[in-house]
Amino acid sequence: MALLEVEELTVRLATARGPADAVRGVSFSLDRGQTLGLTGESGSGKSMTALAVIALLPEGARATGRVLLNGEDLLAASERRLCAVRGNRIGMIFQEPMTALDPLHSVVRQVAEPLRLHRGLSAGAARAEALRLLDRVRLADAHRSAAAYPHQLSGGQRQRVLIASALACGPDLLVADEPTTALDATTQSEILDLIAELVDEDGMALMLISHDLGVMAQNVTRTLVMYGGSIVESGPTEAVFSRLAHPYTRGLHAARPRLGVGRGKRLAAIPGTVPEIADLPPGCPFAGRCPLTIAACSAAIPPPLPVGPGHAARCIRLEAALTLPKAAD
């Protein structure tokens, strides 16, 4: 049994235009020591999937299916039980550390909080452990900065504090939702390197959510590409980025501005826009924007078809898709 098993997860949201599914039948599993990435654009369902895994779905969202952590179904667990799991067995890092941190408490207190809550440490012991953690995430001047408040730190330093707090109880699973999107490029690579090192040392599982294909390629061994609430392609990261089997993955890859392409060259934009979840077509969610669409695409959501070992894409025109033009790296 894997550490995390997500089976047929569906998340229904109450939108202004009636109920709509933000996540549609998502299944995957993740074991200790493994790293998994979820990528896609806004509205693809990647963040909703992450929120379902940490049982923090927004008000009015209904999740069906199963989210098994160590065999226990979190979707069926009581709030009391979830409180004992979140921040303890599952550590979380969010995009904007300023909103995830409490502006009224010093950082050392916030890192110590889960230790007191979940491990029942005394104030002094929790503080000592928190200082050790802040040092471990290489907070600049860790001992002096520990007494600082979040607004006194830079974005990268705040994210280090959040990581220290997520790791405090030695979780089995670390969920990082766009952890570096709000940061500068140079800080981004420092933080990603730090996360990779800590995950490696502690042997926990990492679930990384990012819209950035480059962040996926360098930080996870397995990648899931989401579009319109479904996983349209999944596989070992290297295979996903070398084959680019699904027309959406291939289109997204070709649309990126890249260094050295040169001026005057047009980018291969994907026509149209990401559909809102209330507007998703009945069949393949990408059908409206795909160059290969045929009538059968709109009949039903395509099943995952094998591309290679452990690599599958939900596309009934897989053979044609593999011949679409591919951008260089």
Partner: protein
């Protein structure tokens, strides 16, 4: 557009009632020239002074010292009415179309706002101008009667671009025009900007943190760090032979799709300022004694290639990782 020795600083919040509030230098002696029909990109991390530069170029604030000239006029010496008349020739596109489009106004009203501010156009001409500009950014003339919320993010940014174009400006200042957009839509807007530069001969001052976006649109790139330009060259030259260690760090930080060996993470640099010397010295892997003592000036290190580093020639010669 010409900026000469432009400096700008802002007051920090007062720490106590009894001490003068501190000041933070956002721009420190910046010189820049953008010729007509040219495109210049400005890159750098947050806090580098990119957006301050954009605001000064748009005459939205006055520099603490230095001059900002546009079409030969000193923007900060012009009488108010003359500046207002000149504004039709330079327009701005902001990062977040949701924040810059009034949600309670129809698209036609939003797009025509700069025209009304300039004045002197009949209702009939205004209607025609709106239709033409909406079509030039790939929208329909009929979209004028819709509200911004009826459009997707990419389309909203097209509306913002249409608003900037309607006075037929010769200069457009775009501050992170595509960073709020989804990847698949970002490419559409970049293609549009490229067409507009080519078709209308618009001069572009593009602010972006994304090196690839600047490489795609601009003929020249200026890299900013802590309020100064530390390197300036054509993108081909800059990305092939970076002369400043900061530029090199930026390029190496770009996530590549091919995997790279992991670096041992460094302890983050403290933000405390070193007095005198090079502002990048604390983070620089090649730092030497001279860097801490003497601030490097922006100087020529190659053909049409400027860099502010004492050891630029040695940095260029180093193999890229």
């Amino acid at each position: 557009m010409e900026l000469a020795s432009v400096t700008q600083d802002y007051a920090l919040p007062r720490q106590t009632l009894f001490r003068r509030p501190g000041r933070i230098v956002a721009l420190d002696g910046v010189n820049l020239t953008v010729g007509p029909g040219r495109s210049l990109g400005i890159v750098g991390e947050s806090g580098a002074g990119k957006s301050t530069l954009a605001r000064l170029a748009m005459a939205l604030e006055r520099p603490a010292s230095g001059t900002v000239r546009f079409m030969g006029h000193d923007l900060n010496a012009l009488p108010h009415a003359a500046l207002r008349g000149l504004r039709r020739h330079f327009q701005m596109v902001f990062q977040d179309p949701n924040g810059s489009l009034d949600p309670r106004q129809r698209v036609g009203w939003i797009v025509a706002e700069p025209l009304r501010a300039v004045g002197g156009l009949s209702a009939e001409d205004e209607r025609e101008a709106i239709a033409a500009v909406l079509e030039s950014v790939g929208l329909h003339a009929a979209d004028r009667d819709k509200y911004p919320h009826e459009f997707s993010g990419g389309q909203r940014q097209r509306i913002a671009i249409a608003r900037a174009l309607i006075t037929r400006p010769s200069l457009i200042v775009a501050d992170e025009p595509v960073s709020a957009l989804d990847a698949s839509v970002q490419a559409q807007v970049l293609n549009l900007l490229q067409d507009l530069i080519a078709k209308h001969g618009v001069t572009l001052l593009l602010i972006s943190h994304d090196l690839a976006v600047v490489d795609h649109l601009c003929e020249e790139v200026a890299v900013m760090y802590r309020g100064r330009i530390v390197e300036q060259a054509s993108p081909e030259r800059l990305f092939a032979a970076p002369a400043h260690p900061y530029t090199r760090l930026l390029i190496d930080s770009l996530p590549q799709l091919s995997s790279r060996p992991r670096r041992r993470p460094m302890r983050a640099a403290s933000t405390a300022e070193a007095p005198g010397g090079c502002s990048f010295a604390r983070r620089c892997p090649h730092v030497r004694e001279r860097c801490r003592a003497e601030a490097p000036v922006l100087r020529e290190v190659g053909a049409r290639h400027l860099a502010a580093c004492h050891f630029a020639e040695a940095i260029i010669a180093q193999p890229r990782t």
